[in-house]
Amino acid sequence: MNPATLDPTLGASEVQIGITTRDLCLWYAKFQALHNINVDIKKGIITSLIGPSGCGKTTLLRCFNRVNERYGNVTTQGEIKLLGKNIYDPDVSLIELRKSVGMVFQRPNPLPLSVYENVVFGLRIHDEKGLKKSELDDAVEKALTEVGLWSDLKDRLDAKAITLQLEQQQKLCIARLLPLKPEIVLMDEPCSALDVNGTRAIEELMFKLKGRYTIVIVTHNMAQARRCSDECIFMLLGQLIEHSRTAEMFVTPKFPKTAEYIEGRYG
């Protein structure tokens, strides 16, 4: 069996669960990338996902909005529930699912459009009635304010998004998700292309967004996991090894493997 356990002291009866998986297995063709993942990620907090390169962090993240299915020969088995709803139910619409589960990538990937159009892109493609210019303007101001770009960019909304600094681009990618009011925000090493200041800015942004969104962040940076997350999941070779409160995991890890990884004995 999987050594994964959930700390019983977390008071699970008080909190709501954002993401649940049961016996989740995933294969790329013949290669099994995820082995029986059982996890309960709480709603409204920041959960970090750590583990050495290639252990399946990105793969697990991509399961949560079923975008893995777009990557060729992928087989998934097991159950995934988001906010209590099984996302493999036949009545689940992938459009609605992905609208509610936003993703931020390792390399900022602003669309080759203006800053303004990037922010309203999601609104436009999900827009039924024809939004008024003023509504779009409001959405842009709100989203950019939230990510802290408004004062810098309010006079340059027509600038091409790909000409921004990397840090601004990454913030913009987050801002692009916000108008859709996602339930869950998945971040795959969102800071690895950024410098110290960029990283700090994104981390501060995550704190601001915490509570309203369930955030799962993959990171290679142990210090970052420690600084930013409430809970921490450690993965190794496609298995979930340990899931506990960040403060506890970094002080009293339950498994020797976790301890060794955290101490930097391997990576």
Binding site: A12, S13, L83, G84, K85, I95, E96, S100
Partner: protein, 306 residues
């Protein structure tokens, strides 16, 4: 473990709204439309090929391919035209492919972005669009008359080469440009020269694209009539049957494209199947030459590791 129900009813989460359903229908419509268009291309193609093969069937045989036309083209085979086409295609590609590919490598890998090279690039693009009859006249003036090659396989091949050169340059440049710059940067930063970079990384990773461009020119070369009519192709020639070296490069030759034209427009009372049989042979020849290149390309692709 106990789990509280979220505030909203989870059963209704992520379900289809009326608007999502509409979007999904549009999506299906779009996919259907694109699929139909693909069929609209495939079906006529299959019909044409089937029709040709059906009409040509009575005449097609090994003898038809390996004997010369007789009785004013009404009887016999098409050997001299078949061999002529092979000579023209192979010789012209032997001239245009190396020059075109190497020139494209220069333009894409070495040339600086200055006014001169921009003009060269512009000229290449524009030359690719020149009608073949203009190339024919150029070939007549430059190769047949000025260079005194007379009307010959060599002159005709050179003309065809001039015609295909700009297209090969353009398609090769495209293929080279699709190799990520980061690959080149990686090479330069271990001290590789440009040529080493090209040799080790750029060419191996673009060769299949380059070959695709060249392959497309095989059919174009084999099908053109105008450029060879003035420069080396004749209506009729008798050559030793079954001998692959029956033509010399200073000889005039017959060609399938022109033979087809002759048979359909100049020869009365030709058997009904004859033009179809010539067309099928022309197609077959092109496919055979292409197949070699395609096999080579597939082999190269399986070696590509990214």
């Amino acid at each position: 473990m106990p789990m509280n129900a979220p505030a909203s009813n989870p059963a209704d989460l992520f379900t289809e709204t009326a608007f999502t359903r509409k979007k999904r229908r549009t999506e299906m419509l779009a996919q259907g439309l694109f699929g139909t268009m693909t069929l609209a291309m495939v079906i006529p193609l299959a019909l044409i090929l089937g029709y040709l093969a059906y009409k040509a069937a009575p005449l097609l045989s090994w003898d038809f391919l390996t004997t010369n036309p007789t009785h004013g083209m009404r009887k016999g085979g098409i050997w001299s035209a078949l061999l002529g086409t092979i000579y023209l295609v192979v010789l012209s590609l032997c001239i245009s492919a190396p020059i075109g590919v190497l020139a494209a490598v220069y333009l894409n890998e070495y040339a600086k972005d200055n006014w001169f090279n921009r003009i060269v690039n512009l000229a290449v693009v524009n030359l690719a669009g020149v009608p073949s009859i203009v190339h024919a006249l150029f070939g007549l003036g430059a190769f047949v008359l000025f260079a005194r090659l007379d009307r010959s396989i060599l002159a005709a091949s050179l003309t065809l080469a001039i015609m295909t050169l700009p297209v090969i340059i353009a398609s090769t440049k495209e293929a080279l440009a699709s190799v990520p710059v980061s690959f080149r940067e990686a090479c330069w930063n271990v001290g590789a020269t440009r040529w080493q970079t090209i040799q080790a990384i750029v060419l191996p990773n673009s060769i299949s694209g380059i070959l695709t461009g060249v392959i497309l020119q095989v059919s174009r070369t084999a099908g053109e009539t105008a450029p060879i009519m003035f420069t080396g192709a004749v209506f009729y020639r008798n050559i030793p049957e079954g001998n692959l070296f029956a033509y010399g490069i200073k000889d005039q030759c017959m060609a399938l494209s022109m033979h087809l034209y002759t048979v359909t427009t100049q020869v009365t009372n030709a058997p009904e199947a004859l033009p179809y049989a010539i067309a099928v042979t022309l197609l077959g020849t092109v496919l055979l030459i292409n197949a070699t290149a395609i096999v080579f390309r597939v082999w190269l692709r399986t070696r590509k590791k990214w």
